[in-house]
Amino acid sequence: MSHIKQVFVILLLALFIEPVSAKEPLVVVVNKDNPVEQLSRSELIDLFMGKYVAFPNDIKAIPVELNSDHQIKVEFYQNLVGMPLSRVNAYWSRLRFTGRKRMAVFKSNENDLIAFITANKQAIGYVPQSLITKDLKVVYILNE
């Protein structure tokens, strides 16, 4: 049992280390037509953790999330709030009981996510730096 646990831990560590070793930072992007040029870390947290549902310029924001425990999603939250995804999910579950509804759009992969942001001016999402297109505008760079 302990062997299995050890192996699991090592695998998990390998998962974390791999992208870091790849040294590919994650970036937060918006539609290139979105007037927002740059966001602070706090503004990002407030948008993604559901405190605000609008950009600082009061334009409604639509956060775009990857489904379930996507590797990039895990990395993103780890970088943004320093929490594993499970705790972030628990946070949302907790809020659901109070009647709060999350204003977010869920996509199953990076390509769908990029396509949604490209098509929607209000959308905001996170992608690996390497996937940036000319239709996207980087407003924040994580794990620099």
């Binding site: 706090s42 947290i45 953790m49 559901g50 405190k51 943004l80 709030v81 320093g82 929490m83 946070y91 907790r94 809020l95 109070t98 009647g99 709060r100």
Partner: protein, 531 residues
């Protein structure tokens, strides 16, 4: 029970101490408990905070009223919390009974995602009265326990003291009460106190009892000795044949024995407390007694005297009186008077005296006594006349009728002669039919008169019943005067004798002649002629 008894006193002290100690203990404990409970309360609040802090942080972060209310309600559902409130920049949620004025504990709330980002404050008001009640409840329990403890300690202390100390002491005391000092009775040592101080006390008490017994035995034997001695003295005193009386200087009788009682009874007197100084009222011659005492006491001697007692009886009672002065230790004077009855010896002496000085037949003084009397008179130079008388014709009567008749006649003559003589005169039988008559302070004329009477008396005949015959005698008398005729007694007698023989001689011629003087002024010449 005794109010100041050991058990009561001890009980009071123990109960008092227990109450005070109990009070102090419970007070201290109560304070300590209260502080402790408050501390515990704070601890509990902190724990509560840590329980609700994630939710409270989220509520504050999101300014979510519903979530905040949930947190506040959750908090006040605890007994220890009276009120709670959450304050953020834009939101304030507080419980219904929240009052700003009362003290509260404040906890800062941070963003769940940014630990350095303060998003609100959580206020919690601690339920002090609940804490106090809890503390009081604990204190009450403690007080009860302490009280029970004190009660148990008190009861045990009292019981132990009573059975271990008080009861043995009480038993010793009771035993001591029942013990008669001076006997061999002793106090029993309590079993549980063979070596203890109470045992020591018992030993000491027993030692004391032993000493008391010894002392009493010694005193008893001494008392017995004294009693024996006293009874002996009493016997000696009571059974003494002589009356012994102890009198005070004023004559009050202090002590007397049975013999004295008998003597007083014999005197037909009543027993009195006082018979005058030295019992003087009992004696006929008080003066003699006082003189003797004066002389004797002056020489520091006992006074002795032979005195006759006053008596209403015929018998004369003579006693030898011995008065001794006694000085007691405290310088009080008293007199011991001994009255020794010498009546019998006195009587015997008087009988002897009678025999020695009187003639057995005629009871007249004998020659010796007459000579003694004469000697006394000459020694005191008292003048007197001496008559020498000789009976004539006595011898033939004696010869014819016998000695008995002679004696009878002599008795008759004596009685006849006594009838003539005065009280001061002395008649003595000089021997045989010779008599000497002593007439003190008399004159020649009187002598002549007396002699004539004597001769006349004798001349009467005497009837001898045995022989039915009358006889009579005559007498020849010679007289000499002292000191006129002779100073020398023998010469005086001889001259009287001579005169008497002269009469006898001349009687042959002169029958009437019966008297002659030694020196007759009328007959001097005759006498000298006759010689």
């Amino acid at each position: 029970m005794n109010k100041s008894g050991l058990v009561i006193r001890l009980a009071i002290v123990i109960v008092f101490t227990a109450v005070i100690v109990g009070l102090i203990t419970t007070q201290l404990f109560s304070r300590f408990t209260f502080v402790n409970e408050q501390e515990l309360g704070k601890q509990s609040i902190k724990q509560l905070y840590s329980t609700v802090s994630p939710t409270a942080s989220i509520a504050s972060y999101l300014n979510d009223k519903g979530l905040a209310e949930e947190v506040v309600n959750g908090l006040i559902s605890n007994d220890i919390v009276t009120a709670a409130a959450i304050q953020t920049e834009t939101l304030r949620v507080e419980s219904e009974n929240y009052q700003k004025s009362t003290a509260s504990v404040a906890f800062d709330l941070f963003s769940p995602f940014q630990k350095d980002n303060k998003v609100g404050v959580l206020f919690v008001k601690i339920n002090d009265s609940y804490l106090a009640a809890k503390a009081n409840k604990i204190s009450a329990t403690n007080t009860f326990v302490v009280a029970i403890e004190a009660l148990i300690i008190t009861i045990i202390s009292i019981l132990v003291t009573y059975y271990v100390i008080t009861q043995p002491i009480l038993n010793i005391g009771k035993a001591l009460h029942l013990i008669r000092p001076g006997t061999s009775e002793r106090i029993k040592k309590p079993h549980s106190h063979q070596q203890s101080e109470i045992g020591q006390l018992t030993d000491d008490v027993n030692d004391l009892l032993a000493k008391a017994e010894q002392q009493m035995l010694r005193e008893k034997s001494l008392r017995n000795e004294v009693q024996v001695l006293e009874s002996k003295f009493r016997m000696l005193f009571e059974n003494a044949t002589s009356a012994i009386v102890l009198v005070a200087p004023q004559g009050d009788i202090l002590l007397y024995n049975e013999a004295f009682e008998k003597l007083i009874d014999k005197l037909n007197l009543s027993l009195k407390k006082n018979y005058g100084q030295y019992l003087e009222d009992l004696f006929i011659k008080k003066k003699v007694l006082h003189e003797q005492i004066l002389i004797a006491f002056a020489n520091n001697e006992s006074a002795a005297a032979e005195l006759e007692l006053i008596s209403y009886q015929d018998d004369k009672i003579w006693v030898q009186v011995l008065v001794t002065r006694l000085i007691t230790d405290d310088f009080l004077e008293s007199y011991q008077i001994t009255l020794h009855d010498i009546s019998k010896s006195k009587y015997k002496i008087s009988l002897l005296d009678q025999k020695a000085n009187y003639d057995g037949l005629t009871h007249l003084l004998n020659r010796q006594a007459a000579e003694q009397h004469l000697r006394q008179l000459t020694e005191s130079h008292s003048p007197f006349a001496l008559i020498m008388m000789d009976l004539n014709d006595f011898k033939p009567i004696n010869d014819v009728f016998g000695h008995d008749s002679g004696d009878e006649l002599l008795i008759h003559v004596s009685s006849q002669l006594l009838k003539i003589l005065r009280k001061a005169d002395v008649l003595s039988r000089w021997g045989g039919d010779e008599f000497v008559i002593i007439l003190p302070n008399t004159s020649r004329e009187e002598v002549i008169k007396v002699c004539a009477k004597l001769a006349a008396k004798l001349s009467k005949p005497y009837y001898l019943s045995q022989y039915d015959q009358s006889v009579f005698v005559t007498a020849s008398m010679g007289v000499s005067f002292y000191p006129d005729d002779q100073v020398e007694l023998l010469e005086l007698i001889r001259s009287a004798d001579k005169a008497m023989y002269q009469v006898k001689k001349e009687k042959l011629t002169n029958n009437d002649l019966h008297l002659a003087f030694t020196h007759d002024p009328a007959n001097i010449e005759n006498d000298s002629k006759r010689q």
